[in-house]
């Protein structure tokens, strides 16, 4: 599964096929007890590539991207992130988490810290950045996600869309090479989805390597270099958005797309 494909229509692609892949999943298998949730997953994401993952509920999308920064552990196969193979070695784990940012469906901001503190905590303690520098960096990112004026509020005082944008800024403050998004807009009211998607489009424009679990087809068409369709723990189909959405090869994807379209 190489990344030789046409760039998406709207956002310029920054896929670098010459460099080693940013993320490589090689025959990854995972079980929860007897439940086989990831089956022989092979996925290679090039540097600068934007991959959208979709699929029905329970198909293992979250599990797959959570394996990439080892919030979950896979049991078989290899996962290589930024040229580091995931293993039980704690040092490799630290190195990977420093380079991989993650945004959750439920934001998971730290409610007892201000927005600014949310953003500076990890740079100060993990990256050992001086406080002043970390705060300047955080303000920079908060400005880019268009909420610098909220810096001294607490997460509970912000709307869902604002919280999710803070979560994105918080992850970016670690200057990650790779960003993972797990349904970042699913917990949001419709009027807030756009502001978060706009932020993500902007991020995609910077050439960030991204894997994004989402059912926002418009977003996928606009920014994705590749869409991966998962079902029952397998990658069933993958390809550029136009091809995948307009010309699904498998029954499962056809059913899924018709359900998605009906739902929207």
């Amino acid at each position: 599964m190489s990344a030789t494909m046409e760039p998406a229509a709207h956002v310029s692609s920054a896929v670098r096929t010459d460099a080693p892949p940013a993320i490589l999943l090689d025959k990854v298998n995972k079980w929860y007890g007897a439940l086989h949730v990831l089956r022989d997953i092979n996925l290679s994401v090039a540097q600068g590539e934007r991959v959208v993952v979709c699929g029905p509920s329970g198909s293992g999308k979250s599990t797959m991207i959570r394996c990439i920064n080892r919030l979950e552990q896979h049991q078989e196969g290899r996962i290589i992130v930024d040229n580091i193979e995931l293993s039980d070695d704690l040092r490799s784990l630290d190195a990977i988490r420093r380079e991989v940012g993650m945004v959750f469906q439920s934001f998971n901001l730290f409610p007892h810290l201000t927005i600014l503190e949310n953003c500076t905590l990890a740079p100060i303690w993990v990256r050992r950045m001086p406080k002043k520098e970390a705060e300047a960096l955080a303000m920079d990112y908060l400005t880019r996600v268009k909420i610098p004026e909220q810096a001294n509020k607490y997460p509970g005082q912000l709307s869902g869309g604002q919280q999710q944008r803070v979560a994105i800024a918080r992850a970016l403050c670690m200057k990650p090479k790779i960003m993972l998004f797990d349904e970042p807009t699913s917990a949001l009211d419709p009027e807030m989805i756009k502001e978060v998607l706009d932020t993500m489009v902007m991020l995609a424009d910077t050439g960030m390597t991204m894997i994004c679990v989402t059912h926002e087809m418009g977003f996928a068409r606009q920014v994705a270099d590749r869409v991966v369709f998962m079902d029952r723990g397998e990658i069933v189909e993958s390809g550029v958005p136009e091809q995948l959405f307009n010309d699904p090869k498998t029954e499962r994807l056809k059913t899924f797309l018709s359900q998605i379209l009906r739902g929207h």
Partner: protein, 384 residues
């Protein structure tokens, strides 16, 4: 009021669409309204209110008579013997506060040498100062640990003496309020961090640590504090090689710390469990290490959630220190009990116990009020 009623019932013109804020009807607010809805809402509640009110007033008047009007505040002392006939003549109709006046030094300082009483008195003040400083969020910095270490060292120096011209006072002679404060302060200050470690240990992925912590909590919790104190005072020395003698107070202190930590650990664990998993995951995803995650994200939130049960346990622990009575350590309660052993003062226990109760109450009530304020302050971020 008639005006308001008239205005409310008058039909409003239709075009007056924007309705400005109105005050609630006068009869719905204020103390009269409160009394009306809560005390006199029906004939039954009126009857209960009147009956209870009568009882409360009767009892309060009786208490005032006993505690103040008929009370005797001091008695003459001849040849070092208190003349308590006047008190006995009261026959219980008035309080004999003279026993407190006469024995307060013993209650507060036990058998500490009389002319050195300023030392434990100063220690009590130091303790109270330490509590006040620690209670102020302004001082919640690293330096606070140094303040604690410095103050506690100074207290030890004052109590023991033996240097700087202070005479040496062996621990057996310490007593009274200072013992209660020593046992509870060291108890809380050491049991609390220990309990956090145990609570974290119970959630550890390493089976050995987890088992150890579970065993510790279950074993200690399954035994009454009294038996732990007995073990500390009677059994423990049997295992020590001859000649080595660990101070009795220290042994009781260790027993209290271990006991309190087991309870506190369960409280802390409750807080840890109440935190959503997403908080752990977000901290992990940012690359925070275990201690950073625990110190910056998990504990600050978990402990805030359990302030009420934590303080509950602290207060219980403060009072439980009085159990050292059974192994012959002179805390406040033991000193008070001993004060009335003297024949002249026998039978005046009520006054002594009321006073001791009041001292305990002041400390416990202060803790309770403080925790309420703290809870409100620390949970401000939940308020929109």
């Amino acid at each position: 009021m008639a005006e308001i009623a008239a205005e409310a019932s008058a039909p409003r013109p239709l075009q007056d669409a924007v309705i400005g804020p109105r005050r609630p009807p006068l009869l719905a607010v204020g103390p009269v309204a409160w009394a009306k809805t809560n005390l006199f809402s029906s004939w039954l509640s009126t009857a209960v209110t009147l009956a209870l009110g009568y009882l409360i007033i009767r009892w309060a008047m009786g208490f005032i008579d006993w505690a103040f009007v008929n009370a005797i505040w001091s008695v003459p002392v001849t040849n070092g013997q208190a003349q308590t006939q006047a008190c006995r003549a009261l026959n219980g109709t008035g309080a004999c506060w003279a026993v407190v006046t006469e024995k307060h030094r013993f209650m507060l300082f036990g058998t500490y040498p009389y002319e050195e009483h300023w030392r434990p008195a100063l220690c009590v003040l130091l303790f109270i100062g330490l509590y006040i400083v620690s209670a102020m969020r302004r001082f919640w910095r690293k330096e606070l640990a140094l303040i604690w270490i410095g103050t506690l060292a100074l207290i030890g120096l004052l109590m023991w003496g033996g240097v700087f011209g202070l005479s040496y006072v062996p621990q057996e002679r310490w007593g009274g309020l200072v013992i209660t404060l020593i046992l509870s302060t060291f108890g809380i200050a050491l049991a609390f961090p220990l309990s956090i470690l145990v609570a974290l240990g119970r959630r550890s992925r390493l089976p050995a640590i987890k088992t150890l912590c579970i065993l510790y909590v279950e074993l200690i919790r399954g035994v009454p504090l009294i038996s732990l104190l007995f073990m500390a005072s009677v059994m423990f020395p049997l295992f020590l090689p001859e000649g080595i003698n660990i101070d009795k107070l220290l042994r009781a202190q260790v027993a209290i710390i271990l006991f309190a930590a087991a309870y506190l650990a369960e409280v802390v664990r409750g807080g840890l469990q109440a935190l959503p998993r997403g908080q752990y995951e977000a901290a992990d995803a940012l690359g925070l290490g275990f201690w950073q995650k625990t110190g910056f994200i998990i504990l600050p939130q978990a402990l805030r959630l359990v302030i009420p049960p934590l303080v509950n346990t602290f207060i219980g622990m403060f009072k439980d220190t009085s159990l050292v009575l059974i192994i012959g350590i002179f805390d406040l309660l033991t000193a008070g009990k001993t004060a009335i052993v003297e024949p002249a003062w026998q039978g005046f226990g009520i006054e002594i116990y009321v006073t001791i109760g009041l001292i305990y109450f002041i400390f416990c009530f202060a803790m309770s009020r403080y925790s309420q304020g703290l809870e409100a302050e620390l949970n401000q971020h939940r308020v929109r």
